[in-house]
Symmetry: none
Subunit: 225 residues, 2 copies
DNA sequence: GCGGGCCGTCAGGGAGGCGTCAAGATTCCA
DNA sequence: TGGAATCTTGACGCCTCCCTGACGGCCCGC
């Protein structure tokens, strides 16, 4: 089932879209501002984002850039501004479509179908740079300098994905253990030490002085792009 | 270089678009009606089609259907009609975007960038080389060195196609089992072992040391060109 | 200065995944 | 109806990866 994240500060539009999308068997989650949109997308991994440009807390184009930093999820922009410059800015920042308000729900639904048809839902992870290595989360490939390749084990990929999808953010030991292992492994913090060491050995230029996989003692780990 | 086919019966629009696109280093070909559009697309294999719905000889939506019958090329529709029904029809017939006239050239160019960004231009692979063998996916034929032929079973073709269409990318066991067998066979990973062995025996130079069909333990398989 | 957490490192053992082979079971076509 | 091609199933040995425990370094408070 296609997962749609709707970002808008107007409760009416939110309610209308949620109703219409749910009736068409989409899975819907909503966010009222840019901050919630970014965290929601990082945690929920939607197949499509519908984004109003006029958000209370941040510029819509910055939200697009924030998403595009780590995700290739399709983005449909809603906006009251019909100016050519606004459209060009949003599209060039990484939006896939631009619909001006007021819009017909039928048209929006058709555009949603057009976009999800092209992207079979699920190919939303681009490549991320980690120092001199480039990490392709989609193809599960790590390229090193000079055409070399680095091999990662499933557990290493699990850790790497969570960290890289939340650049700059502190990820608690609790969350890493829960998502990579299980909620029963919350006390096994030594697993993290072993596998973080392994990731650093494979991806950091100087594993003993990590620059991208940072330890926050007592709390967790952080990925610095 | 991205190849764009522009379909419109108005000489002015044709000239304007050709000028602007050529200036942005697109390769442009034009067609004045639906018949020329279909034959032109079949012979020239454009990476993008810009299609005016108001053509003299046939309905624009039929042109879309005609293209979609055999090609997945992105289509941007131009139309003077702003009605919601027209948009829905065109998009559901297979168009990727819908721009109403009069339109700004800047906006159209931004939409072109947005669409071609997603599809990296030219990604059908009729024949693929696997070591000393060449695989014709359309004709379902494998040629070996020296004019020999290799026979593959339907299941082998199923596996081979998914792997070869995603060169370099890791394909999960889950996806292979789902698409070649069914979602009920997710636990039968032994099938994969048997048929991967079979593919290697038929296509690899040294089946015991595979160079093109790589196992990623615990995750899936990968085709290396 | 000293001790206790917390973290990084290393290497061995065990379990599960993988490749291989061959023998049924099933389907397909003549 | 018979035979051939294809798919399924099971057994066995190998190899990878995960877990585990021990040790040392660093930082902090006492």
């Amino acid at each position: 089932m296609t997962r749609v994240l709707v970002v808008d500060d107007s409760p009416q539009i939110l309610a209308t879209l949620r109703l219409n999308l749910r009736a068409r068997r989409y899975q819907v989650q909503v966010a009222p501002d840019g901050k919630d949109a970014l965290t929601g997308a990082a945690e929920w991994h939607p197949d499509l984002v519908i984004l109003d440009l006029g958000l209370p807390d941040m510029d819509g184009v910055d939200v697009i850039r924030g998403l595009r930093g780590w995700s290739a999820v399709p983005i449909i922009v809603l906006s009251g501004r019909a100016g050519s410059g606004d459209k060009v800015d949003a599209l060039d920042a990484g939006a896939d479509d631009y619909v001006t308000k007021p819009f017909g729900v039928d048209e929006l639904l058709a555009r949603i179908r057009a976009i999800t048809r092209r992207v079979p839902a699920g190919e939303d992870l681009p490549t991320v740079d980690v120092g001199r290595h480039s990490v392709d989360l989609n193809g599960k490939i790590v390229h090193g300098p000079g055409g070399t390749r680095v091999h990662l084990t499933p557990t290493e990929w699990g850790l790497l994905e969570i960290l890289v999808r939340n650049p700059g953010k502190l990820i608690s030991q609790r969350r890493l253990l829960t998502e990579v292992w299980s909620p029963n492994h919350l006390s096994e913090t030594n697993y993290l030490r072993v596998y973080l060491a392994s990731l650093r050995r494979k991806l950091e230029d100087d594993p003993s002085r990590p620059r991208h996989f940072i330890t926050e003692p007592g709390m967790g780990y952080r990925f610095e792009p």
